[in-house]
Protein backbone atom coordinates (compact mmCIF):
# COMPACT_ATOMS: atom_id res chain seq x y z
CA UNK A 1 0.00 0.00 0.00
CA UNK A 2 2.78 2.42 0.96
CA UNK A 3 4.71 1.47 -2.16
CA UNK A 4 1.66 2.23 -4.30
CA UNK A 5 1.32 5.67 -2.74
CA UNK A 6 5.04 6.21 -3.21
CA UNK A 7 4.88 5.31 -6.89
CA UNK A 8 1.90 7.66 -7.30
CA UNK A 9 3.91 10.43 -5.66
CA UNK A 10 6.93 9.84 -7.89
CA UNK A 11 4.74 9.87 -11.00
CA UNK A 12 3.15 13.07 -9.75
CA UNK A 13 6.58 14.66 -9.34
CA UNK A 14 7.24 14.04 -13.01
CA UNK A 15 4.86 16.94 -13.59
CA UNK A 16 7.81 19.22 -12.87
CA UNK A 17 10.48 17.45 -14.87
CA UNK A 18 11.47 18.34 -18.40
CA UNK A 19 9.64 16.74 -21.29
CA UNK A 20 11.72 14.52 -23.52
CA UNK A 21 9.67 14.95 -26.69
CA UNK A 22 11.40 16.56 -29.66
CA UNK A 23 8.76 18.65 -31.42
CA UNK A 24 9.71 17.18 -34.75
CA UNK A 25 8.73 19.36 -37.69
CA UNK A 26 9.80 22.57 -35.92
CA UNK A 27 12.66 21.06 -33.98
CA UNK A 28 14.92 18.54 -35.67
CA UNK A 29 16.72 15.78 -33.91
CA UNK A 30 20.49 15.33 -34.40
CA UNK A 31 21.28 12.64 -36.94
CA UNK A 32 24.80 11.18 -36.74
CA UNK A 33 26.87 11.37 -39.95
CA UNK A 34 26.73 7.59 -40.32
CA UNK A 35 22.93 7.59 -40.18
CA UNK A 36 21.60 5.29 -42.88
CA UNK A 37 18.92 7.26 -44.66
CA UNK A 38 18.23 8.19 -48.26
CA UNK A 39 20.52 6.55 -50.84
CA UNK A 40 22.46 8.73 -53.25
CA UNK A 41 24.81 8.12 -56.16
CA UNK A 42 27.92 10.26 -55.97
CA UNK A 43 30.34 11.61 -58.53
CA UNK A 44 34.13 11.45 -58.57
CA UNK A 45 36.24 14.63 -58.16
CA UNK A 46 36.12 15.22 -61.90
CA UNK A 47 32.34 15.24 -61.91
CA UNK A 48 31.88 11.88 -63.66
CA UNK A 49 29.67 9.06 -62.39
CA UNK A 50 31.47 7.00 -59.78
CA UNK A 51 29.22 4.05 -60.47
CA UNK A 52 30.78 1.44 -62.71
CA UNK A 53 27.60 -0.65 -62.95
CA UNK A 54 29.15 -3.75 -61.40
CA UNK A 55 25.77 -4.93 -60.01
CA UNK A 56 27.29 -5.70 -56.61
CA UNK A 57 24.82 -3.43 -54.83
CA UNK A 58 21.89 -5.07 -56.58
CA UNK A 59 23.24 -8.47 -55.58
CA UNK A 60 23.87 -7.44 -51.98
CA UNK A 61 20.44 -5.89 -51.59
CA UNK A 62 18.37 -8.24 -49.40
CA UNK A 63 15.06 -6.90 -50.66
CA UNK A 64 16.01 -6.54 -54.31
CA UNK A 65 15.08 -2.90 -54.50
CA UNK A 66 17.97 -1.87 -56.76
CA UNK A 67 17.73 -2.30 -60.51
CA UNK A 68 20.33 -1.12 -63.03
CA UNK A 69 21.72 -1.83 -66.43
CA UNK A 70 25.35 -1.42 -67.43
CA UNK A 71 26.63 0.29 -70.53
CA UNK A 72 29.93 1.69 -71.73
CA UNK A 73 30.82 5.11 -73.08
CA UNK A 74 33.28 6.02 -75.87
CA UNK A 75 36.17 6.23 -73.40
CA UNK A 76 35.66 2.66 -72.28
CA UNK A 77 34.21 3.67 -68.91
CA UNK A 78 31.36 1.59 -67.63
CA UNK A 79 28.37 3.44 -66.24
CA UNK A 80 24.71 2.55 -65.49
CA UNK A 81 22.31 3.18 -68.32
CA UNK A 82 19.52 3.38 -65.77
CA UNK A 83 19.71 3.09 -62.02
CA UNK A 84 16.48 2.62 -60.13
CA UNK A 85 15.88 2.25 -56.39
CA UNK A 86 12.44 1.42 -55.11
CA UNK A 87 12.40 3.19 -51.75
CA UNK A 88 9.11 1.66 -50.77
CA UNK A 89 11.02 -1.61 -50.57
CA UNK A 90 14.35 -0.36 -49.29
CA UNK A 91 15.08 -1.27 -45.67
CA UNK A 92 18.07 1.09 -45.33
CA UNK A 93 20.39 -1.72 -44.27
CA UNK A 94 23.41 -0.16 -45.98
CA UNK A 95 24.62 -3.39 -47.57
CA UNK A 96 24.74 -1.70 -50.96
CA UNK A 97 27.11 0.93 -49.59
CA UNK A 98 29.32 -1.80 -48.11
CA UNK A 99 29.32 -3.75 -51.33
CA UNK A 100 30.16 -0.81 -53.55
CA UNK A 101 33.81 -0.97 -54.73
CA UNK A 102 33.89 2.65 -55.92
CA UNK A 103 32.15 4.57 -53.09
CA UNK A 104 29.46 5.46 -55.60
CA UNK A 105 26.38 4.44 -53.64
CA UNK A 106 26.08 6.06 -50.21
CA UNK A 107 23.46 6.42 -47.51
CA UNK A 108 23.06 9.91 -46.12
CA UNK A 109 21.35 11.28 -43.00
CA UNK A 110 18.01 12.18 -44.53
CA UNK A 111 14.79 10.35 -43.88
CA UNK A 112 12.11 12.86 -44.94
CA UNK A 113 10.97 11.03 -48.05
CA UNK A 114 7.20 10.85 -47.53
CA UNK A 115 5.11 10.85 -50.70
CA UNK A 116 1.41 10.92 -51.40
CA UNK A 117 1.76 8.59 -54.38
CA UNK A 118 3.44 5.23 -54.04
CA UNK A 119 4.89 5.48 -57.54
CA UNK A 120 6.91 8.50 -56.46
CA UNK A 121 8.88 6.31 -54.10
CA UNK A 122 10.71 4.85 -57.09
CA UNK A 123 13.81 6.98 -57.66
CA UNK A 124 15.49 7.03 -61.05
CA UNK A 125 19.13 7.81 -61.74
CA UNK A 126 18.53 11.54 -62.11
CA UNK A 127 16.92 11.64 -58.68
CA UNK A 128 19.67 9.62 -57.06
CA UNK A 129 22.69 11.31 -58.61
CA UNK A 130 24.08 14.20 -56.60
CA UNK A 131 26.69 16.65 -57.87
CA UNK A 132 29.19 16.09 -55.04
CA UNK A 133 31.37 13.32 -53.68
CA UNK A 134 29.29 12.44 -50.64
CA UNK A 135 31.09 11.11 -47.58
CA UNK A 136 34.34 10.01 -49.28
CA UNK A 137 36.33 12.82 -50.85
CA UNK A 138 39.01 12.69 -53.46
CA UNK A 139 38.54 9.12 -54.57
CA UNK A 140 38.47 8.39 -58.25
CA UNK A 141 38.17 4.70 -59.08
CA UNK A 142 39.66 4.89 -62.57
CA UNK A 143 42.79 6.60 -61.27
CA UNK A 144 43.56 3.62 -59.05
CA UNK A 145 42.16 0.74 -61.06
CA UNK A 146 44.41 -1.11 -63.43
CA UNK A 147 41.78 -0.98 -66.10
CA UNK A 148 42.75 0.84 -69.23
CA UNK A 149 40.44 3.55 -70.46
CA UNK A 150 40.92 6.21 -73.08
CA UNK A 151 43.58 8.66 -71.90
CA UNK A 152 45.06 6.21 -69.38
CA UNK A 153 46.80 3.06 -70.39
CA UNK A 154 47.74 0.06 -68.31
CA UNK A 155 50.04 0.86 -65.40
CA UNK A 156 49.55 4.60 -65.64
CA UNK A 157 47.33 4.89 -62.59
CA UNK A 158 48.40 6.27 -59.23
CA UNK A 159 50.63 3.97 -57.13
CA UNK A 160 50.96 1.74 -60.14
CA UNK A 161 54.05 0.37 -61.80
CA UNK A 162 54.10 -0.21 -65.55
CA UNK A 163 53.14 -3.78 -66.38
CA UNK A 164 55.87 -6.36 -66.64
CA UNK A 165 56.49 -7.80 -70.05
CA UNK A 166 56.68 -11.58 -69.43
CA UNK A 167 58.35 -12.17 -72.79
CA UNK A 168 61.32 -9.98 -71.96
CA UNK A 169 64.35 -11.32 -70.11
CA UNK A 170 65.44 -7.95 -68.76
CA UNK A 171 65.09 -7.48 -65.00
Amino acid sequence: MISLLKSMWYVFLHMFSKRVTVQYPEQKNYLPPRWRGRIVLTRDPDGEDRCVACYLCAVACPVDCIALDATEDDNGRRYPDFFRINFSRCIYCGYCEEACPTYAIQLIPDFEMAEYDRQNMVYEKEHLLISGEGKYHGYNFYKYAGLAIKGKGKGEGENEAPPIDPKSLMP
Binding site: L4, R19, T21
Partner: protein, 317 residues
Amino acid sequence: MNETFQHILIVFGILFGVLTLAAALIWIERRLLGLWQDRYGPNRVGPLGIFIVVADMIKIFFKEDWIPPFADKKVFVIAPTVIMFAVMMSWAVVPVAPGVVVFDVNIGILFFLAMSSLGVYSTVLAGWASNNKYSLLGGMRMSAQMFSYEVFMGLSLMGVVIMAGSFNLTEIVNAQKNMWFVVPQFLGFIIFFIAGLAESHRLPFDMPEAESELIAGFHSEYSGMKFGMFFVGEYVGVTMISAFIVTLFFGGWLGPVLPPFVWFFIKVMFFICLFILLRAAMPRPRYDQLLSYGWKILLPLALLNVLVTGGLVLAFE
Protein backbone atom coordinates in the same frame (compact mmCIF):
# COMPACT_ATOMS: atom_id res chain seq x y z
CA MET B 1 -45.04 26.40 -15.26
CA ASN B 2 -41.97 28.28 -14.14
CA GLU B 3 -40.96 25.41 -11.90
CA THR B 4 -41.35 22.89 -14.73
CA PHE B 5 -39.22 25.06 -16.97
CA GLN B 6 -36.57 25.31 -14.29
CA HIS B 7 -36.58 21.55 -13.89
CA ILE B 8 -36.18 20.98 -17.61
CA LEU B 9 -33.33 23.47 -17.56
CA ILE B 10 -31.63 21.51 -14.76
CA VAL B 11 -32.07 18.23 -16.62
CA PHE B 12 -30.55 19.52 -19.83
CA GLY B 13 -27.94 21.52 -17.96
CA ILE B 14 -26.63 18.45 -16.15
CA LEU B 15 -26.87 16.31 -19.28
CA PHE B 16 -24.97 18.90 -21.30
CA GLY B 17 -22.45 19.48 -18.54
CA VAL B 18 -21.71 15.80 -18.03
CA LEU B 19 -21.37 15.03 -21.73
CA THR B 20 -19.13 18.06 -22.25
CA LEU B 21 -16.95 17.00 -19.34
CA ALA B 22 -16.78 13.47 -20.73
CA ALA B 23 -15.72 14.82 -24.10
CA ALA B 24 -13.20 17.17 -22.50
CA LEU B 25 -11.77 14.17 -20.64
CA ILE B 26 -10.50 12.82 -23.96
CA TRP B 27 -8.16 15.78 -24.00
CA ILE B 28 -7.61 16.15 -20.26
CA GLU B 29 -6.63 12.52 -19.80
CA ARG B 30 -4.19 12.44 -22.67
CA ARG B 31 -2.60 15.74 -21.70
CA LEU B 32 -2.27 14.73 -18.05
CA LEU B 33 -0.87 11.31 -18.91
CA GLY B 34 1.61 13.09 -21.16
CA LEU B 35 2.51 15.49 -18.38
CA TRP B 36 3.20 12.67 -15.97
CA GLN B 37 5.11 10.62 -18.49
CA ASP B 38 7.40 13.49 -19.55
CA ARG B 39 5.85 14.01 -22.97
CA TYR B 40 3.28 16.35 -24.47
CA GLY B 41 0.22 14.43 -25.54
CA PRO B 42 -1.99 16.01 -28.21
CA ASN B 43 -0.70 19.54 -28.84
CA ARG B 44 -1.23 20.16 -32.54
CA VAL B 45 -4.89 21.02 -33.12
CA GLY B 46 -5.85 24.34 -31.57
CA PRO B 47 -4.44 25.95 -28.42
CA LEU B 48 -2.74 23.22 -26.31
CA GLY B 49 -4.36 20.68 -28.61
CA ILE B 50 -7.83 21.13 -27.18
CA PHE B 51 -9.54 20.66 -30.55
CA ILE B 52 -8.33 17.07 -30.63
CA VAL B 53 -11.73 16.47 -29.03
CA VAL B 54 -13.47 17.77 -32.15
CA ALA B 55 -11.12 15.86 -34.42
CA ASP B 56 -11.70 12.64 -32.50
CA MET B 57 -15.46 13.15 -32.54
CA ILE B 58 -15.53 13.73 -36.29
CA LYS B 59 -13.33 10.72 -36.85
CA ILE B 60 -15.36 8.39 -34.68
CA PHE B 61 -18.67 9.49 -36.22
CA PHE B 62 -17.47 8.76 -39.74
CA LYS B 63 -15.79 5.46 -39.03
CA GLU B 64 -17.36 2.38 -40.47
CA ASP B 65 -19.72 0.93 -37.89
CA TRP B 66 -19.15 -2.74 -38.53
CA ILE B 67 -21.03 -5.58 -36.90
CA PRO B 68 -19.15 -8.84 -37.27
CA PRO B 69 -21.17 -11.54 -39.04
CA PHE B 70 -20.50 -14.03 -36.23
CA ALA B 71 -21.82 -11.69 -33.54
CA ASP B 72 -25.16 -11.89 -31.80
CA LYS B 73 -26.51 -8.80 -33.55
CA LYS B 74 -29.25 -7.60 -31.22
CA VAL B 75 -27.23 -7.96 -28.03
CA PHE B 76 -24.20 -6.55 -29.79
CA VAL B 77 -26.11 -3.34 -30.58
CA ILE B 78 -27.80 -3.07 -27.20
CA ALA B 79 -24.65 -3.58 -25.07
CA PRO B 80 -23.04 -0.14 -25.58
CA THR B 81 -26.30 1.67 -24.92
CA VAL B 82 -26.64 -0.03 -21.54
CA ILE B 83 -23.50 1.54 -20.09
CA MET B 84 -24.48 5.00 -21.38
CA PHE B 85 -27.92 4.58 -19.91
CA ALA B 86 -26.67 3.35 -16.56
CA VAL B 87 -24.04 5.98 -15.94
CA MET B 88 -26.24 8.83 -17.14
CA MET B 89 -29.06 7.66 -14.89
CA SER B 90 -26.69 7.68 -11.92
CA TRP B 91 -26.03 11.35 -12.56
CA ALA B 92 -29.73 12.04 -12.07
CA VAL B 93 -29.50 11.73 -8.27
CA VAL B 94 -26.30 13.77 -7.80
CA PRO B 95 -26.97 17.16 -6.19
CA VAL B 96 -24.71 19.57 -8.05
CA ALA B 97 -25.72 22.59 -5.97
CA PRO B 98 -28.48 23.18 -3.41
CA GLY B 99 -31.71 22.36 -5.22
CA VAL B 100 -29.95 21.59 -8.50
CA VAL B 101 -30.67 17.89 -8.83
CA VAL B 102 -32.65 16.08 -11.47
CA PHE B 103 -34.27 13.49 -9.28
CA ASP B 104 -34.22 14.27 -5.55
CA VAL B 105 -35.21 10.80 -4.40
CA ASN B 106 -35.01 9.57 -0.82
CA ILE B 107 -33.16 6.38 -1.84
CA GLY B 108 -30.45 8.16 -3.83
CA ILE B 109 -27.60 5.88 -2.79
CA LEU B 110 -29.58 2.73 -3.52
CA PHE B 111 -30.51 4.13 -6.93
CA PHE B 112 -26.85 4.83 -7.64
CA LEU B 113 -25.80 1.34 -6.54
CA ALA B 114 -28.52 -0.24 -8.68
CA MET B 115 -27.56 1.78 -11.75
CA SER B 116 -23.85 1.16 -11.39
CA SER B 117 -24.54 -2.56 -11.12
CA LEU B 118 -26.59 -2.38 -14.30
CA GLY B 119 -23.55 -0.91 -16.04
CA VAL B 120 -21.79 -4.24 -15.62
CA TYR B 121 -24.32 -5.85 -17.96
CA SER B 122 -23.00 -3.69 -20.76
CA THR B 123 -19.53 -5.17 -20.47
CA VAL B 124 -20.67 -8.72 -19.93
CA LEU B 125 -23.18 -8.60 -22.79
CA ALA B 126 -20.64 -7.01 -25.11
CA GLY B 127 -18.15 -9.72 -24.27
CA TRP B 128 -20.76 -12.40 -24.86
CA ALA B 129 -22.28 -10.96 -28.03
CA SER B 130 -18.94 -10.37 -29.73
CA ASN B 131 -18.58 -14.15 -29.96
CA ASN B 132 -14.85 -13.88 -29.70
CA LYS B 133 -12.60 -15.60 -27.20
CA TYR B 134 -10.81 -12.48 -26.03
CA SER B 135 -14.06 -10.57 -25.66
CA LEU B 136 -15.62 -13.43 -23.75
CA LEU B 137 -12.63 -13.53 -21.41
CA GLY B 138 -13.04 -9.79 -20.89
CA GLY B 139 -16.72 -10.14 -20.10
CA MET B 140 -15.99 -13.04 -17.77
CA ARG B 141 -13.37 -11.02 -15.94
CA MET B 142 -15.84 -8.17 -15.60
CA SER B 143 -18.39 -10.41 -13.97
CA ALA B 144 -15.72 -11.84 -11.65
CA GLN B 145 -14.62 -8.31 -10.83
CA MET B 146 -18.21 -7.34 -10.16
CA PHE B 147 -18.55 -10.19 -7.66
CA SER B 148 -15.52 -8.90 -5.83
CA TYR B 149 -16.25 -5.20 -5.53
CA GLU B 150 -20.02 -4.88 -5.57
CA VAL B 151 -20.46 -6.24 -2.06
CA PHE B 152 -18.03 -4.00 -0.23
CA MET B 153 -18.98 -1.05 -2.41
CA GLY B 154 -22.47 -1.02 -0.93
CA LEU B 155 -21.19 -1.79 2.57
CA SER B 156 -18.59 0.97 2.49
CA LEU B 157 -21.37 3.53 2.04
CA MET B 158 -23.37 2.26 4.99
CA GLY B 159 -21.15 4.14 7.43
CA VAL B 160 -22.03 7.39 5.67
CA VAL B 161 -25.69 6.47 5.67
CA ILE B 162 -25.60 5.70 9.40
CA MET B 163 -23.93 9.01 10.18
CA ALA B 164 -26.22 11.08 7.96
CA GLY B 165 -29.31 9.08 8.86
CA SER B 166 -30.57 9.18 5.29
CA PHE B 167 -30.19 7.67 1.84
CA ASN B 168 -30.99 11.04 0.29
CA LEU B 169 -27.87 12.59 -1.21
CA THR B 170 -28.95 16.17 -0.57
CA GLU B 171 -29.42 15.38 3.11
CA ILE B 172 -26.08 13.57 3.22
CA VAL B 173 -24.39 16.70 1.88
CA ASN B 174 -26.24 18.87 4.39
CA ALA B 175 -25.15 16.54 7.21
CA GLN B 176 -21.51 17.37 6.34
CA LYS B 177 -21.85 21.08 7.20
CA ASN B 178 -19.68 20.70 10.30
CA MET B 179 -17.28 18.04 9.13
CA TRP B 180 -16.73 16.21 5.86
CA PHE B 181 -17.45 12.52 6.18
CA VAL B 182 -13.98 11.69 4.92
CA VAL B 183 -12.65 12.36 8.43
CA PRO B 184 -14.80 9.95 10.46
CA GLN B 185 -15.32 7.61 7.49
CA PHE B 186 -11.79 7.52 6.13
CA LEU B 187 -11.81 3.73 5.87
CA GLY B 188 -15.16 3.89 4.09
CA PHE B 189 -13.73 6.45 1.68
CA ILE B 190 -10.70 4.30 0.83
CA ILE B 191 -12.87 1.23 0.29
CA PHE B 192 -15.39 3.13 -1.80
CA PHE B 193 -12.60 4.67 -3.84
CA ILE B 194 -11.15 1.25 -4.67
CA ALA B 195 -14.60 -0.08 -5.46
CA GLY B 196 -15.28 2.95 -7.63
CA LEU B 197 -12.09 2.32 -9.58
CA ALA B 198 -13.18 -1.26 -10.16
CA GLU B 199 -16.69 -0.12 -11.01
CA SER B 200 -15.55 2.28 -13.73
CA HIS B 201 -12.96 -0.33 -14.81
CA ARG B 202 -10.23 2.27 -14.92
CA LEU B 203 -6.61 1.33 -15.17
CA PRO B 204 -5.48 -0.38 -12.01
CA PHE B 205 -8.60 -2.53 -12.39
CA ASP B 206 -9.14 -2.55 -16.13
CA MET B 207 -8.92 -6.32 -16.37
CA PRO B 208 -11.92 -6.59 -18.73
CA GLU B 209 -10.05 -4.42 -21.26
CA ALA B 210 -6.41 -5.32 -20.59
CA GLU B 211 -4.91 -4.16 -23.88
CA SER B 212 -1.75 -6.13 -23.28
CA GLU B 213 -3.41 -9.49 -22.71
CA LEU B 214 -6.93 -9.34 -24.13
CA ILE B 215 -6.45 -6.78 -26.93
CA ALA B 216 -9.15 -4.45 -25.52
CA GLY B 217 -11.21 -7.37 -24.22
CA PHE B 218 -14.92 -6.84 -24.32
CA HIS B 219 -14.87 -4.09 -26.95
CA SER B 220 -12.29 -5.50 -29.32
CA GLU B 221 -14.99 -6.20 -31.94
CA TYR B 222 -16.58 -2.76 -31.64
CA SER B 223 -15.95 0.07 -34.04
CA GLY B 224 -17.30 3.48 -34.89
CA MET B 225 -19.77 5.12 -32.58
CA LYS B 226 -20.54 1.89 -30.71
CA PHE B 227 -16.97 1.87 -29.53
CA GLY B 228 -17.35 5.59 -28.90
CA MET B 229 -20.27 4.90 -26.61
CA PHE B 230 -18.16 2.54 -24.52
CA PHE B 231 -15.57 5.25 -24.32
CA VAL B 232 -18.00 8.01 -23.39
CA GLY B 233 -19.61 5.59 -20.94
CA GLU B 234 -16.23 5.00 -19.31
CA TYR B 235 -15.52 8.73 -19.03
CA VAL B 236 -19.00 9.52 -17.73
CA GLY B 237 -18.47 6.66 -15.28
CA VAL B 238 -15.27 8.33 -14.06
CA THR B 239 -17.03 11.66 -13.55
CA MET B 240 -19.93 9.83 -11.91
CA ILE B 241 -17.73 8.01 -9.41
CA SER B 242 -15.84 11.24 -8.70
CA ALA B 243 -19.13 13.07 -8.17
CA PHE B 244 -20.29 10.41 -5.73
CA ILE B 245 -17.01 10.44 -3.81
CA VAL B 246 -17.34 14.22 -3.55
CA THR B 247 -21.00 14.10 -2.53
CA LEU B 248 -20.64 11.33 0.01
CA PHE B 249 -17.28 12.07 1.59
CA PHE B 250 -16.12 15.56 0.65
CA GLY B 251 -19.12 17.68 1.38
CA GLY B 252 -20.50 18.01 -2.14
CA TRP B 253 -21.07 21.65 -2.98
CA LEU B 254 -20.10 22.88 0.52
CA GLY B 255 -17.22 25.31 0.69
CA PRO B 256 -16.41 28.91 1.55
CA VAL B 257 -16.52 32.04 -0.68
CA LEU B 258 -16.98 30.44 -4.11
CA PRO B 259 -20.49 29.54 -5.34
CA PRO B 260 -21.61 25.95 -4.59
CA PHE B 261 -21.46 24.76 -8.18
CA VAL B 262 -17.84 25.88 -8.53
CA TRP B 263 -16.86 24.03 -5.36
CA PHE B 264 -18.53 20.89 -6.65
CA PHE B 265 -16.78 21.21 -9.98
CA ILE B 266 -13.37 21.78 -8.39
CA LYS B 267 -13.72 18.77 -6.14
CA VAL B 268 -14.93 16.53 -8.97
CA MET B 269 -12.05 17.64 -11.18
CA PHE B 270 -9.62 16.86 -8.37
CA PHE B 271 -10.84 13.28 -8.20
CA ILE B 272 -10.88 12.90 -11.96
CA CYS B 273 -7.24 13.97 -11.99
CA LEU B 274 -6.55 11.47 -9.21
CA PHE B 275 -8.12 8.74 -11.36
CA ILE B 276 -5.83 9.70 -14.23
CA LEU B 277 -2.80 9.81 -11.92
CA LEU B 278 -3.65 6.30 -10.80
CA ARG B 279 -3.75 5.25 -14.42
CA ALA B 280 -0.33 6.78 -15.00
CA ALA B 281 1.23 5.16 -11.93
CA MET B 282 -0.31 1.76 -11.32
CA PRO B 283 0.30 -1.64 -12.83
CA ARG B 284 -2.64 -3.93 -13.42
CA PRO B 285 -3.21 -6.76 -10.89
CA ARG B 286 -4.42 -10.18 -11.91
CA TYR B 287 -8.17 -10.52 -11.59
CA ASP B 288 -7.94 -13.31 -9.03
CA GLN B 289 -5.76 -10.97 -6.98
CA LEU B 290 -8.56 -8.40 -7.01
CA LEU B 291 -11.03 -11.11 -6.06
CA SER B 292 -9.05 -12.37 -3.07
CA TYR B 293 -8.13 -8.81 -2.06
CA GLY B 294 -11.79 -7.81 -2.18
CA TRP B 295 -13.17 -10.77 -0.30
CA LYS B 296 -10.38 -11.34 2.23
CA ILE B 297 -9.41 -7.77 3.13
CA LEU B 298 -11.84 -5.14 1.95
CA LEU B 299 -15.09 -6.92 2.78
CA PRO B 300 -14.13 -7.61 6.44
CA LEU B 301 -12.84 -4.03 6.70
CA ALA B 302 -16.10 -2.66 5.33
CA LEU B 303 -18.09 -4.81 7.74
CA LEU B 304 -15.90 -3.66 10.62
CA ASN B 305 -16.41 -0.08 9.52
CA VAL B 306 -20.19 -0.50 9.59
CA LEU B 307 -20.02 -2.19 13.00
CA VAL B 308 -17.81 0.45 14.62
CA THR B 309 -19.68 3.38 13.06
CA GLY B 310 -23.02 1.94 14.09
CA GLY B 311 -21.80 1.27 17.63
CA LEU B 312 -20.32 4.75 18.05
CA VAL B 313 -23.42 6.46 16.63
CA LEU B 314 -25.61 4.43 19.03
CA ALA B 315 -23.30 5.19 21.96
CA PHE B 316 -23.30 8.95 21.39
CA GLU B 317 -27.03 9.27 20.76
